[in-house]
């Protein structure tokens, strides 16, 4: 029965691929943009129709792609009757909307953006109805919320649009979150996130103790999406969207997503009392509330919005009844509602477009001016009212028939009576749509002279109105196969007894229908009186309540976060350190401890001297930290002592790295200190300083004890592997370097990327700074320290220029020997950076910049690319990323030497390090330049005799 098809993923992907087109094609004109959107949709529709015959035969088409199997998340699609119906609606109406929007949007609206959003939304909807994995479905579900947010807020200049979009996102997003919980519970009960498996476990789900929580959570998602009471309020506010959006999202597709979900999960969830009372009652209440508000709305789109709420309630109620016949009626009404409501929205848009108002109070008598529109609107509205020979009549009869024998809490008449009343209200507002807009006397005070629009605008609604009539007259021929198929998919079985026909005989439904039409006409007749009563009755305003709720929530969360995060970073740090030390202490006190058994090293006198230097320097930094230059010098002392320690303790690579990093760090800090206060003021009290000292000493003591405990114990290490394989496997004798470029090359690759990002961040910060308000401050900067008049001392210039080639040679040497002796890309990069920095310092920024051949950005990028491609290269040898290869080459005049891909990787590291270090310092010196250091720009352009004479003058 199942058939695997390769079309399905393509159908689902088509709108997303297509979404790229209109935004790009808009440069070629609005028609091309619209055509490209339509083309993508049409292609998907054709593929869908190619699949349709198999589905009509009762097959279920599936397509599975493994994605994250460990999480149970697979890209898994299936197409059955229900999916087919919704996919047809989404793509079919989508195509009509694309046509309609082409003529609806004005020249000033960014059309490429519109179609891109629309296709994104279309893709998300299509994903929902085709997903076979509930996790995948949830992703698409959230995507519809996001893309509809973009569409509702499309007219960014309208505050109503922005607020409506936000409200829709808040309400449906909240429901979506609830639904994630519900779906996870369902998956947990069924033991799989596959929708087909979940549907097959209906009995297990309904008898599970987790059924109620799952049901409520999922229904929260469905009700918010489908605007069911009490979440109905967002839909009318979403009408601030352009009319094509309203017609697409709010009649045909998005609001039907909740309905779809209830239908989809019908076999798994429906049939219980809880389902009946929650879903059935909510639907009934929504139908009545929506219909009564719709009757008194003057805005055409608001009227239609509330009527949509009401009809969605009707469908929900039918699904809630839980009987198979009701489910069939629900499906049939989904089809009918799409046809007449989308047509009605489009005609409302046409009226707005040509009369420049949607206010019913300012309209009337339009039939004479726009006959085509009037005919389309009348047919569609009569169908909405449920008048015979139109499709709305058929499904309304079926609804009334089902309502007629539904018992609610033992009461036989309440559901039939209320359903009839709902139908009656529906007749009233539908007739009002016709009578107060198109009928009545002609007026001469329309904001603009109404007229029928061009063909492109009325073609789509006309097609839909034709469908309304055709289904109404020949239901069995046109709609029955699809309804039967879809309902079969919903209720999980054949629908053999389906006969859609006009005349059912004299049934209770017929009487109810007659009452509804008669009563509806009466209501319209007395509309003025009723409206006065309605306006006099106090009603809660949903938007105000929503805003109050959101404001309250913001106030509460803000007050909480302001207490926790008051902006005092010093407090966070103190709390953080204290907590860490306390946790460590608790852990320490909780266990037994003995002394370590490892043999200790002796202490030679120089080591003791170095230790003394370090401790004195560290304590001095703390005591003199207010004098910033002095503290910086002391920091340098500490860094040098640490590198000495590395030398002594068998870590030559670390020593070289530490010492070169030390140099660039101090230079960086000096550059920054140029613009910072040179002294730190005394601000904290003695009490606070003592507190900090206690925290500091406690944590220092703890760390010292911890590291002593470490060092005095023997340990097992994985490094034996590295030592054993470094030469034979990595081709290098410097094990640290081989670990960096080979064993753990992937880490190093990540690290140079981080370094590059850090440098680019610094560059971006500098750019932002120089284009912001700080820039003005800098140009009028007054340095608080006397500057040397000779910025480029002759001796220094000469020496550094002579040193440059030597320094570079050292760098290259350190790079080349790195694989077998201390050195390598990191250290070589730092050395070259220092060599370049010397030139900047001695000869000046401009001089050095003029001689720079390659941008530092490029260098960073090139370095990362070289490292990356070296890694990728090993794929061609069929090995994993970054497997290194090496060999020994003999060229006649030279000794035998080694060539290793690791050296290429190290070259990438080298370039990135040079680029990153230079970019960071370059950015800081750009700031210095902005501060207007204009004394002798060029090196050696300084004549001391001139200074002599000027100083004599003054």
């Amino acid at each position: 029965m199942d058939e695997t098809s390769s079309f399905l993923p393509l159908i689902a992907a088509m709108p997303f691929i297509g979404a790229l087109l209109p935004g790009l094609m808009i440069r070629a004109g609005r028609n091309v943009s619209a055509l490209s959107a339509g083309f993508a949709t049409l292609l998907a529709l054709i593929m869908l129709i190619l699949e349709a015959p198999a589905v009509m035969r009762g097959e279920v088409i599936r397509a599975d792609i493994d994605w994250m199997p460990l999480l149970g998340l697979n890209v898994s699609f299936f197409l059955d009757g229900l999916g087919l119906l919704f996919a047809l609606m989404i793509l079919g109406i989508g195509l009509l909307i694309i046509l309609y929007a082409r003529f609806y949007l004005s020249k000033s609206d960014p059309m490429g953006q519109f179609y891109t959003y629309l296709l994104l939304f279309q893709g998300a909807m299509l994903g929902i109805v085709l997903s076979n994995n509930v996790l995948l479905l949830l992703i698409f579900w959230e995507l519809t919320s996001l893309s509809s947010f973009l569409l509702i807020g499309y007219w960014k200049h309208l505050p109503e649009g922005r607020q409506g979009a936000r409200m829709a996102l808040a309400v449906t997003g909240m429901g979506g979150l609830a639904m994630i919980g519900g779906m996870l519970i369902l998956g947990d009960i069924a033991g799989s996130y596959d929708l087909t498996v979940i549907l097959a476990h209906g009995e297990a789900i309904k008898s599970s103790p987790m059924y109620m929580p799952a049901l409520i959570l999922i229904l929260l998602g469905a009700f918010t999406k489908s605007a069911q009471f009490p979440f109905h309020f967002w839909l009318p506010h979403a009408m601030a969207a352009p009319t094509p959006v309203s017609a697409y999202l709010h009649s045909a597709t998005m609001v039907k997503a909740g309905i779809f979900l209830m239908a989809r999960l019908w076999p798994a969830l429906a049939g219980t009392d809880a389902w009946f009372y929650i879903v059935g009652t909510t639907g009934l209440v929504t139908m009545l509330v929506g219909a009564s508000i719709a009757l008194f709305k003057d805005d055409l789109k608001a009227l239609l919005a509330y009527s949509t709420v009401s009809h969605l309630g009707l469908i929900t109620m039918l699904l809630g009844f839980g009987t198979k016949a009701a489910a069939v009626a629900a499906i049939f009404h989904i089809i009918n509602h799409v046809t007449f409501k989308a047509a009605l929205f489009m005609t409302a848009g046409i009226v707005d477009h040509s009369a420049h108002t949607r206010d019913i109070k300012r309209l009337g008598g339009l039939a004479a001016f726009m006959p085509i529109t009037a005919v389309i609107a009348t047919i569609s509205a009569l169908s909405m009212a449920g008048i015979p020979f139109l499709n709305g009549f058929l499904s309304k009869e079926m609804m009334l028939e089902e309502a007629a024998h539904t018992v609610w809490l033992g009461n036989h008449w309440v559901v039939p009576a209320l359903a009839t009343f709902g139908a009656l209200l529906s007749v009233a507002y539908s007739l009002r749509f016709i009578a107060h807009v198109f009928l009545g006397p002609k007026r001469d005070d329309y904001p603009a002279k109404p007229h029928d629009p061009e063909f492109g605008l009325w073609a789509a609604p006309a097609l839909l109105a034709t469908l309304v009539v055709l289904i109404g007259i020949f239901p069995q021929a046109i709609a029955a196969p699809l309804v039967a198929l879809t309902s079969g998919a919903v209720i999980g079985g054949e629908v053999s007894y389906l006969h859609l026909k006009l005349w059912h005989g004299v049934t209770p439904a017929l009487y109810m229908s007659i009452i509804a039409v008669g009563g509806g006409a009466m209501l319209l007749w007395q509309h003025k009186l009723l409206e006065r009563i309605w306006l006099a009755t106090p009603r809660p305003e949903a938007k105000r309540l929503f805003d109050l709720f959101v404001d309250g929530l913001v106030t509460v969360t803000r007050s909480i976060s302001e207490v926790l995060h008051n902006g005092a970073i010093s407090r966070y740090l103190a709390v953080f350190v204290l907590t860490t030390v306390s946790l460590g202490t608790i852990a320490f006190l909780g266990g037994a401890h003995g002394a370590g058994g490892r043999e200790l090293l002796s202490i030679p006198a120089p080591a003791f001297a170095a230790w003394g230097l370090l401790v004195v320097a560290a304590i001095s930094v703390v005591t003199v930290h207010r004098r910033r230059f002095l503290a910086l010098v002391l920091i340098g002392v500490i860094g040098l002592t640490v590198s000495l320690g590395f030398v002594y303790l068998s870590a030559p690579d670390l020593a070289m790295t530490q010492i070169s990093v030390e140099i660039v760090t101090i230079m960086l800090m000096l550059l920054a200190l140029n613009f910072l206060p040179k002294e730190t003021p005394k601000e904290s009290s003695v009490l606070r300083r003592s507190r900090d000292a206690i925290i500091a000493i406690a944590s220092g003591g703890a760390i010292a004890a911890l590291s002593y405990a470490f060092m005095t114990r023997d340990f097992s290490t994985i490094s034996t592997f590295h030592l054993d394989n470094s030469y034979t496997g990595g081709g290098g004798k410097n094990v640290v370097n081989v670990i960096l470029v080979d064993f753990r090359g992937f880490d190093t690759f990540g690290e140079i990327i981080v370094l590059g990002i850090a440098a680019l961040t610094i560059y971006a910060l500098m750019e932002a700074l120089l284009s912001g308000p700080a820039s003005r401050k800098l140009t009028t900067w007054v340095f608080d320290q006397p500057k040397s008049r000779d910025r480029h001392p002759l001796m220094m210039v000469v020496v550094t220029r002579a040193l440059m080639p030597i320094a570079i040679m050292v760098g290259v040497f350190v790079f080349l020997r790195g694989h077998n002796d201390p050195g390598g890309g990191f250290i070589a990069g730092l050395i070259i950076a220092i060599a370049l920095l010397m030139q900047y310092m001695a000869s000046g920024f401009v001089w050095a910049q003029e001689r720079q051949r390659m941008e530092y950005h490029t260098m960073i990028g090139l370095g990362v690319l070289i490292a990356g491609f070296t890694g990728i290269g090993s794929w061609f040898a069929g090995k994993p990323f970054l497997t290194s290869a090496f060999g020994y080459v003999t060229l006649p005049p030279l000794e035998k030497f080694e060539l290793a891909t690791a050296a290429l990787f190290d070259l990438g590291v080298f370039l990135t390090v040079v680029g990153a270090v230079m970019l960071a310092l370059y950015s800081l010196s750009r700031i210095a330049r902005r501060a207007g250091e204009t004394v002798n720009v060029e090196a050696m352009d300084y004549d001391p005799s001139e200074v002599q004479s000027t100083s004599e003058d003054t």
Binding site: H625, G645, L649, P652, A693, M711, H722, L765, D821
Partner: protein
């Protein structure tokens, strides 16, 4: 020797933490620099201490010290430069834009910072 290294780590940590609890950006940056020393040496020391046993393969060496912590610390030193540079730039930017290098955002209740 172990005692010296451990106490040095402790002193560096204490000094670093005292400095990061100060109220101005510059001492905090100095504090993070001190903390980076402490952390780097600490990581290095987890490979235990050894004299005259660099992890450079030779035919004559009797033993080698653990190379893995060294490799980790080497990149850590370079990355800490990147981190310091970013923090310095942020501090400088904040000072130039706001005219103060205080790290705490001023609130009404300044009791703690008085």
């Amino acid at each position: 020797m172990e005692m010296l290294v451990a106490s040095a780590i402790g002193v560096l940590t204490a000094a670093g933490i005292y400095l990061i609890l100060r109220l101005r950006a510059f001492p905090v940056i100095l504090g993070t620099a001190m903390l980076s020393y402490a952390v780097n040496v600490f990581l290095f020391s987890t490979g235990r201490l050894a004299v005259n046993a660099p992890p450079i393969l030779t035919k004559t060496a009797e033993s080698y010290t653990d190379p893995l912590p060294q490799a980790l610390v080497l990149t850590a030193i370079v990355i800490s430069f990147g981190m310091t540079a970013v923090v310095v730039m942020i501090a400088l930017g904040a000072y130039l834009e706001t005219g103060t290098d205080k790290i705490d955002i001023a609130t009404d209740e300044e009791g703690d910072a008085a």
